[in-house]
């Protein structure tokens, strides 16, 4: 079973919820799919046992075979290839950051002058903390192919475990890549107009992906805004975490909620049970 934890926006408490849920249930693994800003490791300090580079395919030109016809640059939808021809000589220039790895140029080159090469775009780290399995995807600085790193991280998940996915913020391709294929999605929000606005967007994503969802309200207070939205859309509200200095301080030091306040462990176990009943 895969449960993803998402929110329209960062800073709402996704990682807090994901880490606490993973620590509360047995036989679980957590995948940090917020590859631009992975934070789960800060709360778990896992022992890393394996590091795997994530690569993307880029074309490599065989200059002997290439006749500078320019077809590769014509088929490339991302303008990642440029062919320069000057009299009898010339060059094929690749802009690796623009390449999406579709391999079209390699496939369609009339001279078969291109072959796949690999370019590192990120890292997968695999480890554990006590009995909790840990997987993290991390995008290299100045790289853009976040979904590729996310998909790779998810591919290392063990099928027999309960998987908790910490999704990146937003509603664009990285968030979708993380949430896709989940059995359930927990949406974390805050009771402010910002929180409601972002929750609406995140909910729309789960609807588009046909994934059932439930809400956790963090920094709870005047929750009527959020509760109204949940009632209207028949989304269950699992939990309200109050704004508590003790929680904020523990978070700031990288201490998981269920470690700082062990009474939350039972609450998260109950949420897990409810989710199982829903799906």
């Amino acid at each position: 079973m895969v449960i993803s934890v998402a929110s329209g926006k960062g800073g709402t408490g996704k990682t807090t919820v994901a880490v606490s849920l993973a620590l509360s249930i047995e036989n679980s693994q957590i995948i940090d799919c917020d590859v631009e800003e992975p934070n789960v490791h800060l709360f778990l300090n896992p022992e890393i046992k394996q590091e795997i580079e994530v690569t993307s395919v880029v074309p490599e030109v065989d200059k002997e075979k290439c006749n500078l016809c320019g077809y590769c640059s014509k088929v490339c939808a991302y303008n990642a290839l440029s062919v320069i021809k000057l009299d009898s000589s010339g060059d094929v220039i690749l802009f690796p950051h623009l390449c999406h790895g579709c391999e079209g140029c390699i496939l369609l080159c009339p001279e078969k002058a291109m072959k796949p090469a690999h370019r590192g775009i990120g890292m997968i780290k695999i480890g554990s903390f006590d009995s909790l399995e840990f997987i993290e995807g991390r995008l290299n600085i100045s790289e853009v192919l976040a979904p590729k790193v996310i998909e790779k991280a998810k591919a290392y998940a063990k099928k027999d475990k309960i998987t908790i996915v910490d999704a990146p913020p937003g509603t664009s391709c990285p968030a979708v890549a993380a949430i896709k294929d989940s059995d359930f999605c927990i949406l974390v929000t805050e009771p402010t107009p910002f929180g409601l606005h972002d929750l609406e967007l995140a909910y729309e994503v789960t609807q588009a992906l046909k994934i059932k969802s439930g809400v956790i309200i963090n920094k709870s207070g005047d929750d009527w805004l959020i509760e109204g939205f949940c009632r209207k859309n028949k989304i269950p509200v699992f939990l309200k975490i109050p704004f508590h200095r003790k929680i904020a301080e523990a978070y700031s030091k990288g201490i998981p909620l269920v470690k700082a306040m062990p009474e939350y462990k039972e609450i998260f176990q109950k949420i897990y049970k409810e989710i199982r009943e829903i799906i």
């Binding site: 329209g8 926006k9 960062g10 800073g11 709402t12 990682t15 631009e36 800003e37 934070n39 800060l42 395919v57 088929v75 939808a77 991302y78 999406h100 790895g101 579709c102 391999e103 079209g104 496939l107 369609l108 995008l139 600085i141 100045s142 790289e143 853009v144 976040a146 990146p168 913020p169 937003g170 509603t171 664009s172 391709c173 990285p174 968030a175 979708v176 896709k180 402010t192 107009p193 910002f194 606005h197 972002d198 967007l201 729309e204 994503v205 588009a208 992906l209 005047d222 904020a248 301080e249 978070y251 700031s252 030091k253 990288g254």
Partner: protein, 317 residues
């Protein structure tokens, strides 16, 4: 004209709150919300939309079922798993029935059945298609066309604080970097037309393509962070990115008194990489209340903290 970008690495640190402060404190500027995934600045500035435009970013493949011969070549070459083969199992059911009706034709039925099992429909998964167009090159029947993908809308609005350029990206759309670039171009043009002194940009979280698109060509990056382990971790990643682009950075620590020890650690780490921490803002219920009320903080209340923030803005501009 000076372009100032507010970013944070991590979400929820107070980027939009701080941009709201700049909106109130600075005269003669154009505002841009580049967090196209989850734009929030409009919730503080209450814009009146003057112009709405569709944003077409990239292409999307579509298969003409009438022309498709189900050869599967498109699925084979697609590196994004964006082509789904949907088997039509009900046809097999029909066949079992026909076999029982005509038991004298078992062999024919067998071959017939084979044919029907492979009869399936190929469809493009719009969420996965990246518009690389390669499927259209390999399709022997020319059954695949690439259409423009409308991936969002952008708006030119007026607010009490000046022109606001903002957008809404459709769900699951990529090209947010391109949309950000579009917004930035519009903002620059508007600022030049109106002779504005500043372009103030509310940036997206993270370090991915929309952040890079927000960053190119700005004069100053203001990184708003909070004194948490994750805040610090993400701050260092955006600082690294700014260095990569050779753009000056100044740091503001928001809610600094929530963890004074972490705050001083951040100050140390930041200053050791040669960057100035130009201000610290304490945790304040008033700020939370201003966000809940949907008003820029400097307008919501007047007290010693508003004065402090005004001074801080003086240091940035």
């Amino acid at each position: 004209m000076k372009q100032i970008l507010i970013i944070s690495g991590k979400g929820g640190t107070g980027k939009t709150f701080f941009t709201g402060c700049l909106a109130t404190a600075l005269n003669n500027k154009v505002l841009v919300d580049c967090d196209v995934d989850a734009a929030n600045l409009h919730l503080l500035l209450h814009p009146e939309i003057k112009e709405t435009h569709d944003f077409t970013g990239g292409k999307i493949a579509s298969i003409d079922e009438a022309k498709c011969i189900q050869c599967g070549a498109c699925k084979e070459v697609c590196k994004f798993n964006a082509i789904n083969e949907i088997f039509q199992s009900f046809q097999i059911e029909t066949l079992k029935h026909s076999r029982s009706v005509i038991p004298s034709l078992p062999i024919l039925c067998h071959s017939e059945r084979q044919r029907r099992i492979s009869s399936s429909v190929f469809q493009v998964d719009e969420l996965s298609c990246e518009g690389c167009t390669i499927c259209s090159y390999v399709c022997p029947e020319e059954a695949i066309t690439l259409n423009d993908r409308i991936s969002g809308q952008y708006f030119i609005s007026e607010t009490r604080y000046g022109t606001l350029i903002h957008a809404r990206l459709g769900i699951a759309q990529e090209n947010s970097g391109k949309l950000v670039t579009k917004l930035r171009e519009l903002a620059k043009e508007t600022a030049q037309e109106k002779g504005c002194e500043y372009v103030v940009i509310d940036g997206p979280p993270g370090v991915g393509c929309p952040v890079m698109a927000s960053m190119t060509g700005v004069d100053l990056v203001v990184a708003v962070t909070e004194p948490t382990l994750s805040g610090m971790h993400d701050l260092m990643r955006v600082i690294e990115l700014s260095k990569h682009f050779n753009i000056p950075v100044k740091v503001v620590i928001n809610k600094h008194d929530l963890n004074t020890e972490m705050s001083s650690q951040i100050v140390k780490a930041v200053e050791s990489s040669g960057i100035e921490v130009c201000g610290k803002i304490p945790f304040s219920e008033d700020i939370l209340a201003s966000v809940k009320a949907g008003k820029p903080f400097l307008e919501f209340t007047k007290n010693s903290l508003t004065k402090e923030i005004e001074e801080l803005i003086g240091k940035i501009t």
